[in-house]
Amino acid sequence: MRLQDVLNRISSDSIKAVQTAYVWERFSTPWPEALLHPDELFEAANRLSVWSRRLLGYWILTVGPLPIQEEKLLNRSVPDAGLAAAEMKAAVQELCACGILYAVRKSWGERLLFMPADCYIAWRQTLDEDDEWAELTRSSSGEKLDTAPGATFTRRLLRAYATLERLGLTLTGKGLFPKKTVDNVTRLLDMPVSNIMARLRPVHENVYPVPFAMALDIALKLGLIQFEDGRYNWSVSALDDWLGGDERIREAEMAQLVTMMYGFHSPQEAFFTSGLLKLEPRCQFTTNAGMGLDPFHIEWMRFLDGCGWAQYEADADGGCTFRWLIDPIADRRDALESAHGEAVIVLPDGELIVPPYAGLAVRWKLERIAQWVRDDVVSIYRITAESAASAAERGMQADEQLMLLQEAAGGIPLPDELVHAIRHWSASACRTSVEDVVLLRCEAKEIADAISERTELKELLVERLGDRTFIVRAEKTAKLRKELERAGWPPLMNEADRSRSAASHKAEASASGKRRNGTQQPLTNGLHSFIYNEHAVERYELLAPTLAPGSSDGAIEQWFPSDWPTAWTGPMRSYHHSTRKLMIESALEWGAPIQLVTGGQSVELLPERLESGSEPWLVSGYIRKDSRIEHVRLSPDMWEEMRIVIPRMAPNESGS
């Protein structure tokens, strides 16, 4: 789930509440926009409590963009995250209240926590402890080479969508896209076979090849197509938005989207694939066999190479080189002033040279009026007799084609030869048309003459053909019948009408039979994705960001029993062993950490278990120092003083 998908499902009150959270106070970029900008997130992280920051670090490394059961998270809090249960709860609450983490509830009440996938990518760029990819890019001495991308996945996708638009989104009787459509789109995507592709499961895997399913999946995700009233339709506004803007940004967005959709199957995968996005563009990175790349890593880099976004090459020694050919994290704020791109060069022989970042909108226009030749540093199209005639057949006459071309050429006059050629080719096309019409035939000319005079019938007629026949308005057939009956000329029922009539009788009988039997055919619904996503949380109820009332600020002492002796949570003291045991038990029950003084030093203990079977009793847990934890087993005489620590929500405080 991405951030926008979340925002579409929460109320405006919740949005306002999050915006006023202290973390976002006086931020240059407000929430939620800030969630997608690493610079802003860095500042936001500094405002969070120490436990939230620790949880975030743990989350990025271990949970990633995948949902996790809240209970499972709490169970892992001590050994994995180095957080006491109470600290973990406090951190979760704070991060949810700040709109950084979200929760969904399954139908039986279980809660799943998740971070939106695009936010995860942004956080990946912000927090980079223990991140060898960040280390790699910082220490890179790789050669920076200026090489241009060729036929990127985005461009191929655009061509596939243009073809889809041409062929239409109509489904067959079985509710599937026609084979011709599927084959064309698959061919245009031209994706090399890879294990990454092989593991994706299309919803109709017996019918749709993976590339086709990907194309439609992405179109749905981008909002380019929608399912309404039993059919798919293009969203003109979404399409205009996608086509507009800087092409470099669109490439980056697509690279990230594909990473989110197909490279986030596990937290480990997500850590790697999002880490790759951090590598400096155009810089060549070399790994050797000892770097511990596993088969998935290699497949993913190869997949990116196949998408035209990167260059990957394995060497004979088990290592590889990798380089981004695009900047995968360019964002809208990087958009160049020349967002509209360079103009297309139009040659007299009909060849069109499209500069590298001319813009998707320009390419879309050219797809409608020209034949694609190839993609290279520039893309090459050609206006041919076939392309001009094809455009004309789809309703685009010569003037419109020339206008599109002129716009693409940036206002530079088009070569005369080409203008004349387009006019000639378009004029030859569409001098005929094939239409489905409804005819009214009359037995005699006199009847036809009379019909054309009657006011009630005249308005239903479109055109007279010869003496005895009319084209009539198809949608007014029923009214036409009535008027003809009224005028004394009840029309003969034709074959189709007779068949329809018989069929409707059958259908009625069948339906009534089914009603009696209590069964009913389900309606065909549109798909929310064309590729199965086992981690999808969209189907669950999204909870509002603030989890517990009144707990988004101040301390969380209310979670803890009010009958604890005040001294236990006060300054450090020495206690009798039995009291120590009691305190340990209480801390275990409530998930609180314990501060100890041992050997004159103050340490934090995250108790895990009390071992009362032995004498003296032992407490096992983790000593936490800085961000590291170390497992220990302590007997009560191994420390001098102690207290229970109640976590606070205040920023940058540890609660001590």
Partner: protein, 565 residues
Amino acid sequence: MEQNLKPLIVLSDMTLLFDDRTTGSEEARAKLSGFAELMKNAGHLHTYRMTPLTLWNAASAGMTGVQVIETLCRFSKYDMPSGLADKLKRLMDRFGRLRLNRLAGPGENSLVLSGDEEIMQELQEEQSLQSLLGSRGSGEPFRLSAERRGTVKQELMRLGYPVVDAAGYREGETLPLALRGQLCGGSAFTLRDYQSQAVARFVQGDSAAGGSGIMVLPCGSGKTIIGIGVLAALQCETLILTSSVTSVQQWEAELLDKTTLGNDSIGQYSSQEKRVRPVTIATYNMLATSGREERDYRHMRLFNERDWGLIIYDEVHMLPAPVFRMTADLQATRRLGLTATLVREDGRERDVFSLIGPKLYEMPWKQLEQQGQIAELRCEEVRVPLPESAERNYWIGDSRTRVRLAAENPNKTTVVRHLLDRHKDKKTLIIGAYIRQLKSLASALNAPLLTGEVPHEERAKLYEAFRRGEERVLVVSKIANFAVDLPDAAVAVQVSGSFGSRQEEAQRIGRLLRPKQEDNSAVFYTLVSDGTMEVDYALKRQRFMTEQGYRYGLTTVKAQEGEMN
């Protein structure tokens, strides 16, 4: 140089798109021509191509891969395609590392291919070379028969391995001759700069490119003179093959005019006479004529009749299949192909390269025009409406009928008259494809008609009359496509053509391009029936000229009056 003002776009297949509108483009163009060849010139974006041969030519002139890459980077508007720099370096580094020599010894007819062991290993692994080169021991060269020389060189070139061919060629029987410094008429004669360059490129000896190959130059640029220049440089007995008897006669005339050769040294081998001399000129038709037995091409004996040191293929794009096959066996003899349009609608240009040799020299049409070496040309397409009755028949007819109706549009006659009136003081050719149409035009214009049926002597007389100005208009059939020398035609009106043939269009235009004494300009009109298939054919036909940098203006004739706008 600001990025968006740089003139070059470099593509991954070694194609270069050059924008001549940008500042500094002249400097870039000069550098490009050192390692790339101009492919087309449409509009302001010219297409160049780096090929292994152009790169090796650059290497032989001392250029390195690094220098080529630096030039490309310096002038390139966008980033270089991935992997191209490595490819260029690899290709150029290979130059000089393979060598073909003749095995020493009397009667020895074998060659040896030797070079860097690393490259030799690579060649050993190439499947396509295994049957050609056989096997060898480590450190040993490959041995191959002389007959495979051409095929091996072509295959090596295709694979990206240049070979320095030091095996030499048959010298042929020596024939002493020189170019005249002064012609019979008294005027001075010397080769033009580009003609000298072309000759030098051919005779450059043992380079990877020298020895045999094709020269592509515009009509009217003096390809015949280049052939004669090569002959004079090599000083050997020569067989010249050309397309028609008229061309044979013209070659003979030029040889007598421009060289010190006498009548006894030059022979014609055609249907009219068969004289084999130290320089013999024959037609392709003659050689491709078979006897009673199938494949008995008895005139092919001509190839072995004398010890030729050079074979010249004039209008090499017309090389017929049987002559192709015979040519494959002549690898030890230098072969020179001449043409203005190495374009074949059947796409068999590659066969010409592989059997004659690679393209050694090319001179763009526009460049020669700018230098004044050929006439300045204007092209115009005139759209002529069909009369109503013909239009009706056009739409109900099949495609064959439509082609004829469009081509023989009677309204074209009116337009031709108008054009003749416009250029009343210029010698004009009316060229067409259909005899019936041409007869009708000749009759209507009271002009002589020249077809393949007209005997050679009468044809020669008509040419002479046209040359002298006694006849201002000639109506000519397809024979105008071939090597016909009409030095003073300044206007041509094409009334019909062979479908979408680019070559035919270029060849017909070529009839106008010889430089003229006073007004060095020419106009080519092509009459096209509006709204018919002829328009589509015209667009195809014009492509070659458009790629040479020529633009066609468009005029539409008004339907009613038949008058031009």
